[in-house]
């Protein structure tokens, strides 16, 4: 059995494991309301909030929500609330741009799956300012990628990237409404997989956020996770053993509801010899 500590050595240079500061932030953000005050005290005893790097700052809106829900009073509360307001503002503008892009695609008969921040944020976080959504992507069927680029040529996408989604992800999509526009999101299982895959490949959200995303998905939809599908798709996409190690880490450190059998299966599974299919890769 490989421990979470060994995982850092095996895929260590890919840097999926949150650092000590981010781990403290995650523990405070996820603490039970009766323990939030103590978790916040421990955090501020060991971490200088003023010195946090940008990726750790991304977790502060969640800390605010936890403190506010627990009724904790602290001189930091105003500035933490400000991080929530700022994230909420940025997300609202992004969702509006995303909505316009989706409406444009819809008008051309192109269905789209929203991947990343907007999908995770809307479906699995309880508040619109809790998680920055700047990593959102719009995925279309590979056969419609060219048509989608033309349809979106007059739309201001800013940070929104256009990608293609594999058939498997497409078949298991679920409805999603984005600021009045109809679209789809990956099913919870695929969102969990995408969160880990983006981190393993180094293309996704910064360290710490993948863990928060997976925990948020499990908090909101653990009963919807198709673990067999996760193992199969994770194996096909050659995300092993990293995927198993990441889930093991979350189970050990945050009591994530992941079965040891799933983790063991992911650890011992052999990757297929063929090149890995992209889970939701960029359009060529």
């Amino acid at each position: 059995v490989v421990s979470a500590g060994q995982s850092t050595r095996q895929v260590g240079n890919r840097g999926w494991r949150p650092g000590p500061e981010q781990e403290q932030l995650l523990l405070a953000a996820r603490s039970h309301p009766s323990e939030t005050a103590d978790a916040w005290l421990r955090l501020t005893c060991s971490v200088d909030i003023e010195e946090l790097d940008a990726s750790s700052q991304d977790l502060l809106p969640l800390i605010y929500r936890a403190l506010e829900a627990a009724g904790v009073k602290d001189p930091w509360l105003g500035r933490l609330k400000g991080t929530y307001r700022r994230t909420w503002y940025g997300n609202q503008l992004l969702l509006r741009r995303l909505s316009e892009a989706l409406a444009q695609l819809n008008s051309h008969g192109i269905d789209a799956v929203v991947v990343g921040g907007a999908a995770v944020g809307l479906l699995h976080y309880r508040a619109l300012g809790a998680r920055p959504m700047g990593d959102s992507r719009i995925a279309v069927r590979p056969a419609q990628a060219g048509q989608a680029r033309v349809a979106l040529s007059g739309v201001e996408l800013d940070s929104l990237a256009l990608t293609s989604a594999d058939d498997d992800l497409w078949r298991a999509r679920v409805p999603l409404e984005v600021a009045g526009a109809s679209a789809y999101a990956p099913c919870s299982t695929d969102q969990l997989l995408c969160a880990c895959a983006d981190r393993i490949t180094g293309s996704g959200p910064r360290c710490g956020r993948w863990a928060m995303d997976v925990l948020a998905i499990l908090d909101s939809s653990a009963e919807e996770i198709d673990w067999r599908r996760l193992v199969r798709r994770g194996t096909e996409a050659r995300l092993i053993p990293g995927l198993g190690l990441m889930l093991s880490y979350l189970r050990e450190r945050f009591s994530a509801p992941v079965s040891p059998a799933v983790i063991d299966t992911l650890r011992v599974a052999a990757p297929p010899p063929a090149a890995p299919p992209a889970v939701a890769g960029r359009c060529p």
Binding site: I49, E50, L52, Q57, L60, E68, P75, G78, R79, L80, K81, G82, T83, Y84, R85, R86, W88, Y89, G90, Q92, L93, R96, A127, L128, G129, G180
Partner: protein, 156 residues
């Protein structure tokens, strides 16, 4: 209270305005201008009353049961805020005026009995932030005052 808004009912155009209440503060964005607004205290109560289907008159009546205030000041504050919200495009006259929903009506009646101790009324203030491209560059940890973004720290 000014007669023009006295008996009107209002609504929010969700295509143009998004809002959320966090910890007793209402934050709003006018999506066409990108302007950001904040309202707290009695302003949040007025907003919630209007969106529940109450007229400014009904909202004022509710506030009078909850707060101590000189005669006419609550009415003036409510109508002033309503007009300010309308000027900013955050609130519209309801296209199809309808009576308040039963829940709102019962809340108004219930509060009269449930609030024997009345607080001093404080007039609502709508805070408006327009240069949002600039505000988004403000570091929410180091460049803000103790109330947090978007309120910049005042230079000593």
């Amino acid at each position: 209270m000014r007669q023009e808004v006295y008996g009107m009912r209002f609504e929010v155009d969700g295509r143009r305005v998004v809002y959320e209440t966090i910890d007793g503060e209402l934050i709003l964005i006018h999506m066409e201008t990108g302007f950001y607004y904040s309202l707290d205290g009695t302003g949040v109560e007025i907003w919630q009353g209007l969106l529940a289907g109450c007229t400014p008159e009904e909202v004022s009546r509710r506030l009078r049961t909850r707060y101590e205030a000189p005669v006419g000041s609550i009415e003036g504050s409510v109508s002033g805020l309503v007009e300010r919200l309308r000027e900013e495009g955050l609130l519209d006259v309801a296209r199809r005026p309808s009576p308040p929903r039963p829940a709102a009506a019962s809340t108004i009646a219930g509060d009269r009995d449930a609030q024997p101790e009345r607080e001093q009324f404080e007039a609502p203030v709508l805070h408006r932030y327009t240069d949002m491209a600039d505000f988004m560059l403000v570091d929410p940890i180091h460049e803000v005052d103790e109330t947090g973004w978007p309120n910049r720290k005042v230079a000593p």
